[in-house]
């Protein structure tokens, strides 16, 4: 995870975003288009707006960018608008207002034909309930995306078999979805999404319907695939530990609004408000925070000859070193001293008092 975090941070710094979302609105109900531009309506509470106009705002003025190769997680509880948001990005639901720029092109302006082109070649999606076709064999399910874009049968089969192997389902290609377990069905969904060689993969709570153990397997599978294929991923989840495990950056959503965007350690180390703080309170902080979050400025009577560690080392991994040393560990980056970490700081984290 540390490796993932470091790599993506460098990627974010250098490259143009693959997807950038600007001022996106999704309003349900009659005359939805008028709501975003009316400050008076926007100020109303959820209940008041429904009573007054019958509208519900699912996504409210959201902007964010996703860098190439990044795993961007959108996290929120049910009803927070996260599934609506991801559907707006591929226009499975038509957003009410805003822009979704994909590789320099505003997707919301694309006509139906162009939109289909994009869906066939540029992005694909994995669904919570798998969305498999029960009347088709696994191999035909995986090849479905290739079929709709007109690939020949031989090509489809070859590519589908590769994908089936990639997700570890070899030998099941002639089974029907009903004959597979939930986890295996979602592997089919994953293979189907990968088969079209998309630039961006969207995941809509893909593992929520699975048992905890299988969920863990599948999360590791996604991490493995991300490492092998380095695809950009937008991942929707309601599970904070899943978000922290997979996400380079995490966007926390509530009632259609962005509460905070940041890396996992930023959310845990510097929650933007009580909502986020409450959310992350159960997370073992030592697994997420890095030394830069717990170091303190050196005082005059601190000995300055302790061991050296980088600021992005995760606390749990630094615990042994810090506790083994009889002097405080110096946190150093590019030869510059940022702070020091002693037994006190480490124990506070491990004991969970912060």
């Amino acid at each position: 995870m540390a490796a993932v975090t470091e790599r993506s941070q460098t990627a974010i710094a250098t490259a143009e975003p693959v997807v950038s979302v600007r001022d996106l609105w999704m309003v349900f109900g009659p005359k939805a288009g008028g709501v975003p531009s009316s400050p008076e309506l926007c100020d109303l509470s959820r209940r008041e707006l429904i009573d007054k106009t019958g509208n519900t705002i699912a996504v409210r003025d959201i902007s964010f960018e996703v860098a190439p190769g990044e795993v961007f997680v959108v996290m929120g509880l049910s009803g927070s608008g996260k599934s609506t948001l991801v559907r707006c990005l591929t226009r499975l639901i038509e957003p009410t207002a805003g822009q979704v720029i994909f590789e320099g092109e505003d997707i919301l302006k694309a006509d139906q034909k162009r939109l289909r082109e994009l869906r066939r070649h540029k992005f694909s999606m994995v669904f919570q309930n798998f969305g498999l076709l029960p009347h088709r064999k696994v191999v035909d399910n995986v090849g479905y995306g290739l079929e709709v874009r007109g690939a020949s049968k031989a090509d489809r089969r070859r590519r589908a078999m590769e994908m089936i192997e990639l997700v570890g389902l070899s030998g099941y290609e002639s089974s029907y979805p009903d004959q597979l377990s939930g986890g295996m069905q979602q592997r089919v969904g994953l293979a189907r999404a990968l088969a079209v060689e998309p630039d961006v993969l969207f995941f809509d709570e893909p593992f929520s319907a699975l048992d905890p153990l299988i969920r863990r397997d599948m999360q590791n599978e996604v991490i493995r695939l991300h490492r092998e294929l380095n695809k950009t991923m937008v991942f929707i989840t309601h599970d904070l530990s899943e978000a922290l495990k997979l996400g380079d950056r995490i966007l926390i959503m509530r009632d259609g609004v962005v509460v905070q965007v940041g890396t996992g350690d930023e959310l845990v180390g510097a929650p933007a408000n009580d909502y986020v703080r409450d959310f992350v309170s159960d997370i073992p902080k030592g697994d997420v925070l890095t030394l830069k979050w717990i170091m303190r400025p050196p005082s005059d009577d601190d000995p300055m000859d302790g061991p050296e560690l980088g600021p992005d080392v995760i606390v749990r991994e630094a615990t042994r070193v810090v506790l083994a040393a009889d002097k405080p560990v110096r946190v150093v980056k590019d030869g510059q001293l940022l702070g020091i970490v002693g037994h006190e700081e480490i124990l506070a984290i491990v004991a969970g008092t912060i």
Binding site: R116, F127, N129, G131, L132, H135, V148, R192
Partner: protein, 668 residues
């Protein structure tokens, strides 16, 4: 004791409920008293041969349409065109299997070919068991001496089914994918299905003349809703995530339809095919009234002459055909279901299937060839080559006649006694009350009931329907029909509750009774009349018994399912607190199945009404007879049409009041 200890809320409820009940009782008492006092006054009676202005106007309309049929552009370019196309389709299918055609003395495919084809199709799309059933069943039709009539019925059914699917599946797809269209089309389909089948025959003859075209369109009206509904339902059942997944991969609308929606809805659509065929068969037999050829006509003619033996033989043929078609399409839908789930049958069955189909196809083709070449294979023979008589139809007819005669001779004491007792104790008093009370009194009582049982909308509908009934000039006939409907409905509901509760509480009873009910429901309604004419001769009582038997399966099933759906935990809790069986049924199961009960009443009423009017054929008189007479006598055409309108108004009124009552119960 508990009521004494109960706090406030309960007492408020108990103030409302008996209040309404007492008002209803009071209303009925007032009706009884006033009805006795004012008996025979302002009853709006109309003698059988008398006509009102409206009836004459309908007659004139009929005359003017007949006169201008070939000059009026609407007819020339619209109705006549439709009639021609449908006539051609029917004649074409009849030429294939039923009637001499293309300069040949026999149909294109003779009996041997048809039997082979049906057997082959049943085996290929269903399984070998239904294949065998088709073989036996269709051969039996021939042995009954009713081959040509059966094929006429089959041809008409096929034509109607073909058109139903052609129109119904696209409409169903539309209704399945568009909420707006679905909202528009659902009430129309409801209306098409709740109207008693009898009713639209007359108006259709006005536009399409008597004959196959009208018969097919009448059948279409009845069977089309099944095709539309099931298709729409199947498409709506497809999980949205599958559709969304296809969209997210860039599938076009057409690709979604052909690759996702239709394959996943296939099983339901095939189930709809089954329902469509059964509905069509039922209606085709009734369409005999407007001169549709086939078995229905044989039954009708025999009923008119009270030749129970012949009616029974033809009725039996209808049942045999119904069973065959039902079983074959059910097996086909089961196969579609298995295929849809990807559950292939055993490996050897898969391997053997292809060569077996090939051999079957060759044998079938050979049989078709024989049936085109040799007379014995073309026309169903009544004797074998050595002269042995193999025709059993007249035997069946003769035996049934003997039994009927014996029953009427020896059991007439019992049957007539029963009939007379019920007639004089129940039917006559109720009919007297309805028919002999002044019309305004009955109307006010009905409006009062609508207000007490239902809501404002029910009252408005009742007022409008009553106005229409008055306008038709058939008030008294309507009241006679209403009396029969009420008696039959009460019996139907009683049966529904008794048997339904029994079935729900005892799985063994359910497993025995349910198939019998299913069998009753596959029988075309026409057939019900035959045995009861044999037992009770032609009378109102006969129609009521037939109506009860027609409606009871539906009500029983609804009650049984409703009671069975009551949460077992609640029943367990009631048992644990020491309730006896009677208390569990009356205090837990029936109250909790209230919605099912009101639905059972509603459906019971509609089915009863449909059958009571068909009873007009066997001496039940009233509106049903007016309709039938309208078909056979030109000067009564207008009256028959008015009777049809009266039946619809009566049906809508009863339906509306019960629906509103059900709704009110739910919200209270």
């Amino acid at each position: 004791m508990t009521t004494m200890a109960e706090p406030e809320p309960r007492s408020r409820l108990s103030f409302q409920w008996p209040g309404r009940g007492k008002l209803i009782v009071g209303l009925l008492v007032i009706w009884l008293v006033l009805g006795a006092l004012l008996r025979g006054k302002q009853t709006l009676s109309l003698a059988p041969a008398d006509l009102t202005g409206l009836h004459r106007w309908f007659n004139d309309l009929d005359d003017s349409i007949s006169a201008n049929r070939n000059s009026n552009p609407v007819f020339l370019y619209f109705f006549n065109e439709i009639r021609l196309v449908i006539d051609h389709l029917v004649v074409f299918i009849q030429g294939l299997i039923a009637q001499p055609a293309y300069g040949r003395p026999v149909p294109v495919i003779g009996w041997l070919g048809v039997v082979a084809l049906v057997t082959f199709l049943a085996s290929a799309f269903g399984n070998l068991r239904v294949g065998a059933l088709a073989l036996v069943g269709f051969t039996f039709l021939g042995l009954q001496g009713l081959w040509q009539e059966s094929m006429d019925t089959l041809a008409l059914t096929l034509a109607a089914v073909l058109l139903s699917l052609l129109i119904g599946i696209p409409l169903g797809i539309w209704a399945g994918t568009s909420d707006r269209f679905n909202a528009v089309v659902t009430p129309i389909l409801d209306f098409m299905q709740t109207m008693p089948t009898f009713v639209y025959l007359a108006p259709l003859t006005l536009f399409f003349l008597i004959g196959p075209a009208s018969a097919t369109i009448a059948t279409l009206i009845y069977s089309l809703p099944c095709a539309v509904r099931y298709t729409a339902h199947g498409i709506r059942e497809v999980p949205p995530s599958s559709v969304e997944a296809a969209t997210s991969l860039g599938a076009t609308g057409w690709q979604r339809l052909t690759g996702v929606l239709l394959p996943m809805a296939k099983r339901t659509i095939v189930l709809g095919l089954n329902q469509t065929i059964m509905a069509a068969l039922a209606m085709v037999t009734i369409a005999a009234l407007i001169d549709a050829p086939g078995l229905g006509k044989t039954v009708l003619k025999a009923l008119e002459t009270l030749d129970v033996g012949t009616a029974f033989n033809a009725g039996l043929a209808i049942v045999v055909m119904a069973i065959c078609l039902d079983r074959i399409t059910t097996a086909a839908s089961r196969r579609a279901e298995l295929a849809g789930r990807g559950r292939a049958p055993k490996a050897w069955a898969v391997k053997a299937r292809r060569p077996a189909l090939l051999i079957g196809a060759i044998v079938t083709l050979f049989a078709v060839y024989l049936s085109r070449t040799y007379l014995w294979a073309a026309e169903f023979p009544s004797t074998l080559r050595n002269g042995t008589d193999i025709e059993i139809g007249s035997d069946i007819a003769k035996r049934v006649s003997i039994i009927t005669d014996w029953v009427q001779l020896n059991l007439s004491g019992v049957t007539n006694g029963f009939k007379d007792a019920v007639t004089s104790l129940v039917i006559d008093p109720l009919q007297t009350l309805l028919v002999e009370s002044p019309w305004w009194l009955v109307a006010l009582v009905l409006i009062g009931l609508a207000a007490l049982l239902g809501d404002t909308r029910a009252v408005i509908t009742t007022v409008i329907c009553l106005a229409v009934l008055l306008g038709t000039g058939l008030w008294q006939d309507t009241m006679t029909t209403l009396a029969m409907v009420l008696v039959a409905t009460v019996v139907t509901i009683a049966l529904g509750v008794l048997v339904g509760v029994w079935m729900a509480r005892n799985r063994r009873v359910d497993s025995v009774v349910r198939p019998i009910l299913d069998a009753f429901q596959t029988m075309p309604p026409f057939v019900y009349l035959v045995p009861f004419v044999a037992l009770f001769a032609a009378s109102r009582f006969t129609a009521i018994v037939a109506a009860v038997l027609y409606a009871a399966p539906v009500s029983i099933k609804i009650v049984a399912d409703g009671v069975a759906a009551v949460s077992p935990t609640t029943v367990e809790a009631a048992t644990a607190s020491g309730s006896n069986t009677w208390q569990i049924i009356t205090k837990v199961q029936l109250p909790m199945a209230r919605e099912a009960l009101t639905l059972a009443v509603n459906q019971g009423l509609i089915y009863v009404l449909a059958m009571v009017v068909v009873g007009g054929l066997v001496g039940a008189g009233a509106l049903g007879f007016d309709v039938v007479a309208g078909f056979s006598q030109g000067q009564l055409f207008g009256k028959g049409l008015a009777a049809g309108i009266a039946i619809v108004a009566l049906g809508i009124m009863l339906n509306r009041i019960t629906v509103a009552a059900a709704h009110r119960q739910r919200t209270v």
